[in-house]
Each structure stands twice: as C-alpha cells, then as structure tokens.
Subunit: 348 residues, 2 copies
DNA sequence: GTTGATTTGAGGTACGTTCCTCATTTATAC
DNA sequence: GTATAAATGAGGAACGTACCTCAAATCAAC
C-alpha cells in the first residue's frame, strides 16, 4: 500500500501560499490586518491542498467551553424524562463535548413563575438556552431580554413563533396532525365518528395537531365525522370518565385520536368499554403506556418524534448559534415517526 | 456566576491517586505492568473526580487513522447513490474524522467477479470493510480471509449471517415485512387479493420481507389472499408487463406490495391500469419515484430505512471494532420507518 | 525620501492526551 | 540477604491549532 498521505495542515498552507503561519492563522480565523491579495493567496492554497481544519485540535487549542441551559416543565412527565435521558446519552457521546449543561424545571402552567425563575438565572457566562415552555407575553419578553444579553435562544419541541427565538427545534405539529388524519382515514371504515381528546387545547401543540387532522379529514375523508375535541384539563380521572362516557353514548364511533398526554387514562377507559377492537386508535408520543398499548393491539399507531435526535439537534444548533455558524437545516429537521406494533423497537 | 470548574485531567487523577502520570496512562490505556492494587487506586480517583477522557485531545495525540473500504453494488441504483451521499455527509461532519474512505463498486450478480475484485484489494493498511453484497459461498470464504488478515468486516444493509462477519448494520427484513403486512391489513378492505412483486426472490431481503409479510397476513388478516410472488428478474419492461397483466386479469385485487426495487415500472403499470385508487400500495425504499408516488397518492406507504443513520452507524461500528471497543447496540439498531404522504419530508 | 500606518514574519506557549525512554523503587524467590 | 523481576516515576516530545508578542518589512501619502 502506498504511503498514507497525511492531511494537509496549516504549515502546508503557509508553505504553499508562501506566507507565514501567523498570516495563515489570521486568514483562517478572520482576524483583521491582512491585505485582500494575501487573503486570496491563502485561500487558493487552502483550496489547492483541500485543507480541512482539524476540529479536534482546534477545539483543544481554543479551549472553547459552551454553557447551555435547558428549561423543562417540572412534574412527572414521560416526555421530559426522555429528554433528560437523551441529554445524558448525548453527554456520553462526543456530541456534548465541551458543553456544561444546566437543566432547570419550571412550573408548566404559571408563566409568571417561569419568568421569575428564569430572571434569577445568571446570564453572564451563558451561551445558549433551550426553552420547553408555552408561549405567553411574559415568555416573549423574557426571550427578548435573553437575546439582549447575548444569549442564543431556541424553542424546543414547542415553538415560540412570535418571540425573538433564534430557532425552533421540533416537529411541525400541523404536519403531525395531518399524518394522524391520513392514518385514521385509512384505518377506519368508510363512515362513522371520530373521537378526539387531549388534556388541554390551550397547548399550541394540540391546537395545531387538531388543525392538521381536520385538514386531511375534511378533504380526503369527508364521510368520517370528527367530533369536537374533548379536554381533560390534565386530570386523569376526568379524562377516563369523559372518554368512557363517550364510548358508551356514541355507538357509531370508529376512531379515537388522542392528541395530548394522559394516554394511560384513555387506555383505561377503552378497556372498560370493551370497544377497543372496533376502534382505530391513534395517539402521540412513545411512552411506556403507549408502547404497551401497541403491543396489546389497543393502539393502532403512535405518532412520535425521535427525542434523541431532538436533543442532539438542539445541542448542535445552540453550538452553531453561539459561534455564529450557519445551521444545516436539513439535518435539524425532526422526523415525524409512525410507530406500529411491528416496527416498535423493543428496548434492548 | 461562580468560576467555571474546569474538567479534571490526567494530571488531577495522578495527584488524587498519588501515582505518577505514567501510571495513570498505563491504567487508562490498558497497558500491562501495573499491580491490581494500583489499578484500583487510579480507577477510584477517576470515579471520584468524574473524569472523562477528552476525545479531541486523545485523537489528536493518538494520530489514529482509520482506513475503511465500502463495497457497493455497481450500476445505477438510487439506494447506492443515497449511501454515497450519506458517506459524503458523514465526512463533512465529525463522525468520519480521521478515517480515509475507499468506496469500490462490484458487479451485483457475479459473485466470482466480486471476489476477484476484492482479492486484488491491498489489505495491509486496511482497518475495516463494509460489504453490501449478496451471500454466496465465495463471499463467505472472502469474509473468512479478511478476518484472518485482521480486518473488521461488517455486512451493511443486507446481512451475511452464515459468514464470519463481525456485525450486521441494517434493518431486520422480517420485521420490515411484518410492518408492511400490518399496514396492508389495515389499509385494505376486509377481503380481496394482494399482489406481491419483487425483482428477485434470490435476494435474501425479498425472501425475508415476504416471510414477515406472510406471518402477519396469515395470523391477523386471513381473509386477505396473498398471491404468489411475481419476479421481474431485474428487467423493468418485464416488471411492467407482469404487473399490468395481473392488474387486468385479477379484478379482486385490493393491495399491491412491492418488496424490491424497480418501483418505477410498477408505478407505470399501475397508471396504465387506472386501478390505482382501488388498491393499497406499499413499497420499499424512499427514492425519487416512490416519493413522487406518495405525493400523487399512487403509493400509500413507503417502508424505508434511514440511510444517513445506516452509514453513520456503519462508521461507528467499524471504528469500535478496529479498536476492540464494545458496540452500543441500542444506538446501532436501524429503525424501520413508515413514510406516508403527510410525514414525507420534502428536501429543503 | 521621509514619516507613519499597515501588513507580515518569526517564534513561542498552551490545550490534554499518547507514547516513548531510562532511572529508580518495590516485590518475589531462593 | 542477595539476585532478579516487576512496578512505578520523572520527564519529554509530539499531535494540529489558537493566540500572543515584538520586530521587520512594505505600503501610502506628502
């Protein structure tokens, strides 16, 4: 085998461009005090050699440390637990190299408390923040304040479209709702009624999912009658009774679409009614209960997002924003996953 | 903000464990000549400090260069093109840092030619090889020979289960077939016939997909009659005529399952027959034609694998095998993706 | 052509790790 | 207790890049 030609280094650039190492460095790192002509010479050498910066060495020398904060809703939530786990995983791999993470919990339904807690945050050394919070005027103000302090701000999972956030990492909820609609239309018989439930329509997610769902149902499956959304207001007992009641009172039901969390209660109602077999059931988020529901054939499909991808994407975006680097949008688009019994990946 | 406590380094370990840097290094890199007691002392210090090796610095110092070869089928193939593209993408990111890639093409259907080409390969500097080839006795011999030469060997996308390959990176074809079956059963009406086509049943993939498909159809949807597989033997014109003929002669068809490539011809036959609307169509691999088929509603679902994930996984596995490191199986399991019109991600 | 500003060069140190060498200490066997 | 082997220490060079200082060269304007 021919001798392995090692990758060109800054020294090679200097030699080929007939300039000093210092000048190469100035060009490479965009420092001032170099003539246009010289910059061109260096760039020509870079192209000629096919030089690519060794990021390992650069990071080592730069001693760049990123400080990011993730703001997650407090209280027990499978989704948040999964995010935490994915953060730990990312930490273990090289994706979170040189970042110090700070995860804080905030009360979900009290925007003032959220803002109070976040205002107490010391922002001086902070490079970026990822927010999983509902959009309110207070939050919008907070985002503006963070931006003024020079902090990169991204909305994670749930967008803050009217704020000054730099980026949104998450799935398109309307498209997710459309996907559910398409599946429901194909799964359910030609005619009948569809029950739609969520814990709260105040959540942007649920609103948008319903919007997408309705778009597809109206245009592609008009014979199916989609009932008004039932809300549990985050009360599992209430959810169970509401769903159970509908299952008793509506004999023409052929489908059930659960847009929010609280699927344990939904499943319980379904089981009590013994109508599971005749209904097409579609829910969101892959969690232990929904996973079990798939395996027991009580749930036909779960619409999920890949949380590992979500978190890795958030870290990449925050890093690039902190360094004023461009974001590779195609890589950061989070897929809408359709999970059914047979493509459910069992945890090792 | 309190002063950022910098991460512990090997020097800190030496200090805490009261040993020299050299000993820490010996323990860290598994070199011999250290007493059990001393190893324990060092490991205790590592745990106490929460030390994690700085991979950037380690890679830099190690100057480890990986040399991998990917063996892909030659000839125009959307799937192979996608792999090539994914390899380029991986190269651009840090995942392929310090690896020199060599991609070679081999004639798909001539095992002897494959082996001849691979035998001419200089194996001396090679760390690993990823094979996308059908399993034959010649290939099995080749794998054994490569293993003897100390090369890490993985099967990519299509397994070589009876060879000595170190690992298989790809989806479980039986599970993919089961997923297709489940979707077909839910999409199609209660009774009718299902047409199954492929380019070649000699390919392990098609065999396994059919197996999984039948499993689900027989147990869960026995009222649907699945017809014997039709083979085109890689001839698009033949494929089109065969499918078109079946569409004319079989009025009770309610579904079409295409297990192999050559979906352009399948779609053409479907269009000519004008029976597209009454059939549930499920195909494999997301390619320009299948993508177009989804958008035009001629295809109901595409079963796909994430090729980017596939390639990144292959690189990680090859790297770990070369270094005798364990493989994090959960991360390397390739998902079976269900893609429909509404969760199709449009290229930016 | 001199002045003053701008551009370039030379050389060094640092990042955290790996991987040497050689000297010294400690344990083991008789 | 001595001979020998095994374990440990001390120190340094290297990987490729970033970033610093200070001197030297080049340029522009008059």
């Amino acid at each position: 085998m021919s001798k392995v030609v090692s990758k060109p280094t800054v020294h090679d650039i200097a030699r080929v461009a007939k300039v000093s190492l210092a000048t190469v460095d100035r060009v490479l790192n965009g420092r001032s005090g170099v003539r246009e002509k010289t910059i061109d010479k260096v760039n020509a050498a870079i192209r000629e050699l096919g030089y690519v910066r060794d990021t390992s060495a650069a990071n080592l020398a730069r001693q760049r440390q990123y400080s990011f904060t993730f703001v997650l809703p407090e209280g027990p939530s499978q989704f948040v637990d999964t995010i935490r786990e994915a953060l730990r995983d990312a930490y273990a791999s090289q994706i979170a190299d040189r970042v110090t993470l700070n995860v804080i919990s905030v009360p979900t339904h009290d925007p003032h408390a959220i803002v109070r807690k976040l205002l107490s945050l010391d922002v001086s050394g902070l490079d970026g923040i990822a927010l999983v919070v509902p959009e309110t005027p207070q939050i919008r103000d907070l985002v503006a304040r963070l931006k003024r302090a020079g902090v990169a701000v991204i909305a994670l999972s749930s967008d803050l479209p009217n704020s000054e956030r730099d980026y949104f990492v998450g799935v398109d909820s309307v498209a997710a709702g459309r996907t559910s609609g398409l599946l429901m239309g194909k799964f359910a018989p030609e005619t009948g009624e569809i029950l739609v439930v969520t814990n709260s329509m105040r959540a942007r997610d649920s609103l948008e999912r319903r919007l997408g769902f309705d778009q597809v149902m109206q245009t592609s499956f008009p014979q199916l009658k989609v009932l008004p959304t039932i809300e549990s207001f985050d009360d599992p007992a209430r959810m169970e009774e509401l769903v159970y009641g509908m299952l008793l009172r509506k004999p023409r039901l052929v489908g059930l679409y659960s847009m929010g969390s609280g699927n344990l209660a939904v499943l319980r109602a379904l089981r009590r009614s013994a109508r599971s077999a005749e209904l097409s059931v579609i829910v969101h988020e892959l969690t232990p209960p929904t996973r079990a529901g798939l395996l027991s054939n009580e749930i036909d499909a779960v619409i999920a997002q890949n949380v590992g991808h979500l978190v890795r994407s958030a870290l990449r975006v925050l890093r690039n924003l902190s360094d004023n680097l461009p974001i590779f949008e195609a890589q950061e688009r989070i897929r809408i996953e359709i999970v059914m019994r047979e493509n459910l990946h069992h945890p090792s």
